[in-house]
Symmetry: C2
Amino acid sequence: MQLKPRDKKSLLKAALGEIPSDLLIKNVKLVNVITGEIYPANVYIYEGFIAHVEVENLAADLEAAKEVIDGKGQYLIPGFIDSHVHIESSMMTPRNFAKAVIPKGTTTIITDPHEIANVWGVEGVEYMYDSSEDLPMRQLIDIPSCVPAVPGLENAGATFSAKEVDQLAPKERIIGLAEVMDYVGVINGEERMMEMIETAEKHGLYLQGHAPFLKGRELSAYLCGGPNTCHESRDSEEALAKLRNGMHVDARNSSIARNVKEIWEGVKDVTFFDNFGFCTDDREADDILNIGHINDVVRYGIERGMDPVAAIKSATFNSAREAGIEKLGAIAPGYVADLILLDDLRKLVPNQVFFAGKLVAKDDQLTVEIKAESYPLETKNSVHIKELSVEDFKLKAPAGKDKVVVNMMKYPNPEQSYTEWVKEELPVIDGCVSLNGDKDLKFVAVVNRYEGNDNLAIGVVRGFGTNCGALASTISHDSHNLTIVYEDPAEALIAAQELLHCHGGMSAVKEGKVLHTLELPLAGLMSLLGAEELSLESAKMKEANRALGLEHLANPLLRIVTLALPVIPTVKMSDMGLINVPKKEFIPIIEA
Amino acid sequence: MQLKPRDKKSLLKAALGEIPSDLLIKNVKLVNVITGEIYPANVYIYEGFIAHVEVENLAADLEAAKEVIDGKGQYLIPGFIDSHVHIESSMMTPRNFAKAVIPKGTTTIITDPHEIANVWGVEGVEYMYDSSEDLPMRQLIDIPSCVPAVPGLENAGATFSAKEVDQLAPKERIIGLAEVMDYVGVINGEERMMEMIETAEKHGLYLQGHAPFLKGRELSAYLCGGPNTCHESRDSEEALAKLRNGMHVDARNSSIARNVKEIWEGVKDVTFFDNFGFCTDDREADDILNIGHINDVVRYGIERGMDPVAAIKSATFNSAREAGIEKLGAIAPGYVADLILLDDLRKLVPNQVFFAGKLVAKDDQLTVEIKAESYPLETKNSVHIKELSVEDFKLKAPAGKDKVVVNMMKYPNPEQSYTEWVKEELPVIDGCVSLNGDKDLKFVAVVNRYEGNDNLAIGVVRGFGTNCGALASTISHDSHNLTIVYEDPAEALIAAQELLHCHGGMSAVKEGKVLHTLELPLAGLMSLLGAEELSLESAKMKEANRALGLEHLANPLLRIVTLALPVIPTVKMSDMGLINVPKKEFIPIIEA
């Protein structure tokens, strides 16, 4: 992608000093991420681009700009680039997300609207695109590559193929094919992935990868297939192997997965970090507010031992290069003037943030207005479910049996989303499977919520973590069908009706009453609230989840959201039933 | 540019080990230019691409390839990339050039066919393209940006504008807009350069720069204009400023200009060298044979103190990235298998060279045949000059004068192409200006050699260096008109007729006899001889030039070739007359 000045001839004049620049930021310690040096400079900016960096006559020429900001000896670094993020994970709209991250110094993100695409398809991606126009930050978009995650085993609201890539690619801020998760499809050369990759290449998009645990010849094949970035490295050896094999390694600290420590241990002894970057992937609103955004990830890398300038380079210059964005991520003539003034290269707390040459945040506060705009999709109901009754949530047994063997998923660890496949015998009462008073067992219902599909699958889970009530969510990766964990079908119905009523979200029911509902009317994934209000709402929802028994989890909201994700071993539920993940096969819930 | 496998699905299978690779290079010390590490590895290659790099099971799996080469513990490095070269300067055809440079480890060049474009226009570029198809090296081509160098002050055989860029850009191996020399046009936003740059950007071409001596605000403006590479840095300060300002600095050691030493002194203390590369620009056949090609430039950088791995990275991975070539310049899965085996990382003498996975040179000898092909342009006469007589070479004085004041160029230094503008009074004999027996004075004729133009300008030069005879050349940058330096018009005629007869080249005449003629029938610039024969011919021509008085020059052939180059200060000749270079104005040769 090329970032081009509106009027190059005038920019040239400003560079030459023939016309005044718009802004001069003087008296800074410039952090040059291209050479790794730090030196005093004055930076001239014209219509959003750096026109000139003066290093000699630091006192002269100060009249050559319409506005002068005194950096007072602070460091000037490029604005941060988050190389991989899902805005939906913040549960905020793109505009509210912008309000939250800009004060943290994030001036560019590369976002994968994978979640909303599973709900609203191309229309969802277009919403993310349209609603992020004219923001005082740069939201660049990759086209989701795996909608749904596993075709044939689940039903989402849309299906993406090469056609959707072809349709979306021409848009200016669409720059890549997003994390190609179907690594099996890539390394086996399956038609669907090959066509999507080829179409993306035809449009000059870069190919973002996603290759957790891949190594050896499988990693080689994935790289030969095209995608050459990865933010899914989890251990040191994996990260080093990926870097050595030419992959761009984006070290991630999300709200869920904190991998920077292990990654850094793996790569710290190499000499060159050209292909190293940072990303947040998924960060919740309160983490962004209280801990930070990509600046927090970089800070953590520095705390682990990375040189501050190399770390800043990784989250600016390197990330721009990884994604093929020219003239972004450095402080040099012709580059976009996304800049941060700060006084501590290790803490990375921005004092002033500039986007395209305009001051957009100061002392952790936005200084520009981001107008509230409304878009049809924000209030369009995405939860389409037939009228439900208590009966719908009962797990029926075959006629004439008083006990059955149930295939179920078992969570061996209360904090991890990995499951095992177990078989247990359960009694049948009034024709329905009973949990037999075992508090560690719960029913699971996955209800398709898209028009034209009334799928509803019921199974049983052991070790989920709740010990009473019903917990329901329309955030349920990646198809985002309505997923409910419960003991009593009547409570499941209450939770389901609650979410039908508010067009999606999360709800906790206990003793027949709604404890709290987090309303997420936008695609059943996102709130229309800003970060601060949403954090409060989210805290209440966490409290309600804890009241159902999830008290030990750092973030109890995340427990349910991967229950129906059929890419995590060993067994998962979808709206179509119980799935053997490695084999991509269905398992009968009740054994014949 | 994307380098793509012919059959990706089969490559994936080879990567996975499901089908045998074509070649395994085992038992090597792999130089990883991405991480900077060196470690033992086996490298599997399939249809020209690296399928897998094995670092663990170095003894296993050896059957998984059709052919196995034992690296015997040698270093394996990526094939070298010359980031900027004019093949014409070698005076060889692209095919003969390939024969000469491949054994030196050059597997990719980025060439600017600027010289032949000035003679033959688009047809010339197409010849360079067509005749370099299917070579066992990669000749990538940038579109000449300044044909002629200074429009309006000289007449070449063609004129390039945005139209020619548009026409040539779609070809697969055309990747950039070549060295944008008209920096004045760029920084002033002149229409011709803006249009060419915009057209190149539209086609996704990279913009190669050329900005000697530019600094401060002019350098900033040039960078804002688009081109962001430069191989013309001459001093340390200049190189550092360019690197800091985001320019790719390509350190050059050509046969003429050796700048690596000064450049390295300027940049050696920076931390990151992501934007640093090497190039040869112009190297003669005998230099290539006896000293080396881009490997020699890298070796020199290492001798000056650059870390060998960083230096190799600069001439491989960095150069590919500078020119926007994906999957080239490193040893990793999915990358093109251009490789060198060698045993000394400081001497950089290749023992074996592989191009796209095939052994193409061993112990300084080609191991593959490069078939002699003939192309119509190679024998098409480019020297079109009306019938000449001795009278044509006399400098006529205005009627009735017995002396005149002549504006002339003076070379203050016998080795440099810089000139001064002087005025001298000379006698008139028989209506013509006389050199008055002053051996330091010579006539200069620049004769247009293109169809439809009979321009012939005669001037006087002081300090050129010859002390007798006539020296003629159809290599005469950048318009390559026939240029002759002489005392006696009769000898000028002999030299001119000699070059007309052989369709261009260089010729030396003394005492009425031809001492030697170097025949360059291809565009008047290139021989059809291979490197070794050409070196002998070239040595004879140098000897002849020395016999005319140029005995102290390292390379006397280069004396005449910049006499008509109207971008070098202060005064130069063209087919249109004497030029004030800085002012872009004509100067009357004889004062009124």
